[in-house]
Subunit: 667 residues, 2 copies
């Protein structure tokens, strides 16, 4: 029974005894990046251990994705073999990070010699072992450290007692130098992880969607970019940050749709902006009715001066008249008769739209052209893109596109307009989308809102997905707004902008526009199919409410974070109560919403001592931010009355009233 | 503003649009194998999806780790983009598995053409697209399938109507052939995962630990392997499967320990079996007092005939007299004076033990020698090894060793004797240990037992760790046994052997031996330090109880599974109630234990209808397996009375009394 020895690679060092497991944060085992924003601190933790009781040391190593030199920061032992450390994310870029751990022979030796010395044992051999460690370090060290080691070794060798020798080797300055120069033999490094460091607007912003062609004043004609400029003060006064336009490209004429999606349009029907491309150009061109490229540049600049940035709607599909259909028919799905396949959801046909074939033989040419389109608009000043139906295009394409765009333009924010199956929506977020549309649009009641928000903000999903909450879109007029009217428009606004730190509305929301196509969650006489002129001061508008609400968001830092949400107890099932907390700054925003648009409700609400770090004997100053009224709260609960017509939602700034026994007067 | 196009690899196909995520089961993202046993079915699931609505197909591919050809089994769509499939684990080996998915152009086409046909649309182009798909498949197909396609295409081409053409192409036999021959273009395959398929004994066995030198009858002299043979019937009658010996190697004399761990032994003290190695040999030798290698072989064979297998204790450490200390001093830690470092936990010294240096420069020679030691005992018939203190040796060494041993000997079971920090214990299990010692030894009360067992059997831990529950070991005499006496010995046995499917006791347990070193959880006059002679029939023994209990385990299949445990409600905090369920076989074992060794307790216990699939109107036949008494239970609860002196634990076989309206008599 002879045994065959295992053949190892000759001269390889022994495998390191150290294990690094469960490095966090990480998405799908590191397959996808996590997301943070400039100014954040990235907390990194891992299980790190080895056999026995020898000491180890761990560090985080990190670098910008476009640089080669690693920076390093120490990790500290937390408990139960968990280590943690952190570093600041100061730049809008991507950062690679990994954990490195190595046997710490210096600390192992120090621990042993001190325990033995303290037990009164002879440590002659341990001193010699220490000197061997120092000899190795002298080899590596330079400058002062080298001198410091040499002196310490001389002193230890010449010492008249073991205690004196130990003191020489373990003097604080020597030990610090030893930590700097200790061997990393046996180091283990975890695989690379990536964090996308977006600009803060990826997390905190209020979006306002409009059809630029609806900016005019003359019925039946196209509003222009110049007309849009006149709206900038109004939009800015409402407190929005991002002004997002539905597509601005030339609209095809073949199979054009008429008003209310009719198949046979009138000659002057302007068509659907999503039927992109005509003889006037494709995705890099501008519909002539809106103005020129120069007008667009001017508008972008004007918007910027009003504190607004322009976001463009990107719909990667073509009308039958798009230049690509002539220049690159191979980019589409070609049928056996040589025709291009139009969009279908059998038996429904969308003959004005050709979907793109992302797997066509010239996929490389196509993908580069789509990247060029994005770059074209970046060059014209656009930094945010709302992407139409990304879930009908391959996710790997988006991962490629966003990564490539971020190489030169990390500031670009992509918003995924995917209303589809949950895992597909999440996959798009993992692929790099900074923001995502969400199911918020249809989450109306207490339990379903809580469950969804816990999933979004309290599970791993928060690491990669930022849900941009839209209570309406040009395609969706939810029943709650149809049925609930003005009170619903108010509280859905508050829910969107406080449950999430990033939210948006589709214009007309401030007018409480809610006339549906009968029985559907769609707008009647939708702007998608016609030119519209709006009276922005029409009765029943909630423009002032929107402005006040956005001011509250801007002034309260706790409302500007995404994952700092906790739900609180309210004993009425129609009343939703939650708090957004920034304990490090002592700032807390508590929100109470009556989810019933029809009836007033009273509720006992919990005073959230476990969040505030207080107890029932403390005084809390609660200031309602819509009215400015203040209250002193004590004990465990308060009672609130929420009337749909008066105050469907209340937002309280909570401050702990500090107890002081006595303060020395300053004279 | 020129844009640089991204350079792709020329002529590469477009990235597949399919994503495969979260393949389960997997341990640490696939870094470590999962564990199952021969006869199990491995259920594999994954999130698999692509953009849009095109169809995809998914399969599991698997192969033995030592074979190259993959086998394949289909996955089925479950819901929410989750797919699942399974295959049988028929051999004691390791199996590699992965998930593969590919766009299903056949099903996509079929779905489209049928929807359009059913909507009464013209499908002339769709038929031509189908024919193109079939032309591709004809290229790939052979034999009958090829003929079948050719005939179907001819029929479709010659058809007098579109309906007829569709029927020709979608005939069931043609469609089945199409599924066999469909293109895998765009296939995506998940990374490889591994399952260790252990033999069933890894999951279901009862271990019995003994010092073979205590098998004799003459005080002060060593029992022998021949003496052990006389105990085989007794041990087998108690119902054990594995007879595990503390180390059987020659014991060093240098710094030998005397009785009760005294530093200065008497001349005739036999030493500690863990101080391995003397002039008589090392880890591949046998202590002469026990007998010869031939005796050992004979014993292994005799044990086998009694249905017992021998497990050996492997302690990779050396006495100062071990041959390695002369032949390979470099395998140890050498001090500056040339001496070998002995084991220490400062200020404690273990001068009779030299730990091994697994990172020494000749680590390759060392590791191969340790593998040779294991192989030596495998060659002598040993298939199970209880490994002493594996947590003081590098985990990567164990991963290497176990993997290498399993290449030729997948039947070998390693039991990790690690009582240490939780993550280290888990890491050893992940590295390949089939079984692990656990904290069960110190989990005595209801809440702590429930929490620990939920962690072990209801979380991911169950994928890689099988806890072998020992109520005592030769090093640990827990307070519950010291204080609780005979009732505690009984119910701790039942807990060990029903909470886990694999458990063991250290001999003397059946005698309720519980004399401690005062104030410690250690045995007084431990066998570790001296020759012992036992009276196996001494009064107060629970040998019959042990035998009955092991018979119950053997007869009830639900007690032979590891992760089929559910805790049930009992309204008395001293009464633990749980059930082990095998619903596919209709077998259920319910266990009630009075955790208080001093006082009887009565408890209302839940009748577990949610597990049995019954309701309060059903009749359950409950048979208590220690007494054989049967009861009919109805309603939602019953009352049990558990008396420490009579019935500290009850095990019920539960059977649902089937309701039959009428049965045709068989004449």
């Amino acid at each position: 029974m002879t045994v065959t020895s295992v053949s190892f690679e000759p001269d390889t060092p022994s495998p390191s005894p150290i294990l690094i497991e469960n490095v966090q944060p990480a998405v799908d085992c590191g397959r996808y990046p996590v997301k943070r924003e400039v100014g954040d601190t990235l907390e990194v933790s891992a299980d790190i251990f080895r056999e026995g009781h020898d000491k180890l040391t761990a560090v985080i190593r990190y670098r910008r994705w476009d640089e080669v030199d690693w920076q390093e920061t120490p990790m500290r032992f937390v408990d139960n073999d968990r280590w943690a450390g952190s570093f600041e994310l100061t730049q809008n870029t991507r950062v690679i990070y990994r954990v490195q751990a190595f046997p710490d022979r210096i600390e192992t030796w120090r621990d042993e010699i001190i325990k033995k010395r303290d037990a009164g044992l002879d440590v002659g051999l341990e001193i010699r072992e220490g000197l061997e460690l120092f000899e190795e370090m002298v080899e590596r060290a330079t400058g002062e450290d080298r001198t410091r080691f040499a002196r310490a070794m001389d002193a230890a060798t010449a010492a008249s007692s073991q205690h004196e020798a130990i003191d020489a080797l373990l003097a604080p300055s020597v030990l610090q130098a030893a930590h700097r120069n200790r061997s990393r033999e046996g180091a283990v490094t975890s695989p690379e992880l990536t964090v996308i460091v977006d600009r803060v607007a990826a997390r905190f912003a209020a979006w306002y969607e409009m059809f630029p062609r609806s900016a005019g004043t003359e019925p039946g004609t196209s509003g222009t970019f110049k007309d849009v400029e006149k709206h900038l003060p109004r939009i800015r006064d409402m407190g929005f940050d991002v002004l997002y336009f539905t597509p601005i490209h030339p609209i095809g004429t073949t199979n054009r749709k008429g008003k209310n999606n009719k198949l046979n349009p009138e000659p002057d029907d302007p068509g659907v902006p999503y039927a992109i491309g005509s003889e006037e150009g494709g995705h890099d061109a501008i519909e002539p009715g809106l103005g020129t490229e120069e007008d667009f540049r001017h508008l972008v600049k004007q918007a910027e001066e009003h504190g607004l940035e322009i976001a463009l709607d990107i719909a990667f599909q073509a009308s039958p008249d798009h230049p690509w259909t002539k220049e690159h028919p191979e980019w589409f799905h070609i049928r056996p008769d040589g025709s291009i396949k139009y969009a279908e959801n059998p038996p429904k046909k969308y003959e004005d739209i050709y979907p793109i074939n992302f797997q066509n033989p010239d996929w490389q040419g196509l993908w580069n052209e789509l990247k060029r389109v994005i770059q074209h608009w970046i060059d014209l000043g656009v930094k945010s893109f709302r992407v139409d139906n990304p879930h009908t295009k391959p996710t790997p394409f988006w991962e490629w596109l966003i990564t490539e765009v971020h190489r030169d333009h990390p500031e670009v924010i992509f918003l995924s307009e995917a209303f589809t199956r949950p895992k597909v929506m999440k996959a798009l977020a993992k692929a790099g989308y900074a923001q995502s549309y969400s199911y918020f649009t249809w989450r109306n009641f207490k339990q379903e809102i809580m469950e969804y928000l816990v999933e979004l903000t309290q599970t791993d999903v928060k690491e990669y997905m930022r849900a941009n909450f839209f209570p309406n879109t040009h395609d969706i007029l939810p029943y709650i707004l149809q049925e609930g009217g003005r009170p619903a428009f108010k509280f859905r606004l508050v829910l969107a902008g406080t449950l999430s730190s990033v939210y948006g509305i589709y214009s007309g929301y401030e007018l409480c526009e809610n006339t549906p196509v009968s029985g559907k969650e769609e707008y009647l006489n939708s702007e998608k199919y016609e030119y519209k002129v709006w009276d922005w001061d029409r009765p029943g508008n909630i423009t002032d409410y929107v402005a006040t609400f956005n001011r509250i968001r801007r002034e309260h830092p706790a409302l500007q974070e995404y994952d700092n949400l906790s739900f609180l107890r309210a004993n009425n099932d129609n009343v939703l109560l939650y708090i957004k907390a920034l304990p490090e700054e002592g700032r807390y925003a508590m929100v109470a919403v009556n989810l019933d648009p029809f009836q007033p409700h009273e509720s006992e609400i919990e005073i959230p001592h476990h969040i505030l770090g207080t107890d029932r004997t403390d005084q809390i100053r609660a200031t309602e931010l819509f009215t400015g009224e203040s209250f002193i709260w004590q004990g465990t609960s308060e009672s609130l009355y929420l009337d749909p017509d008066q105050n469907p939602a209340m937002i309280f700034d909570l401050r702990v009233w500090e107890h002081k026994d006595y303060e020395e007067p300053c004279f």
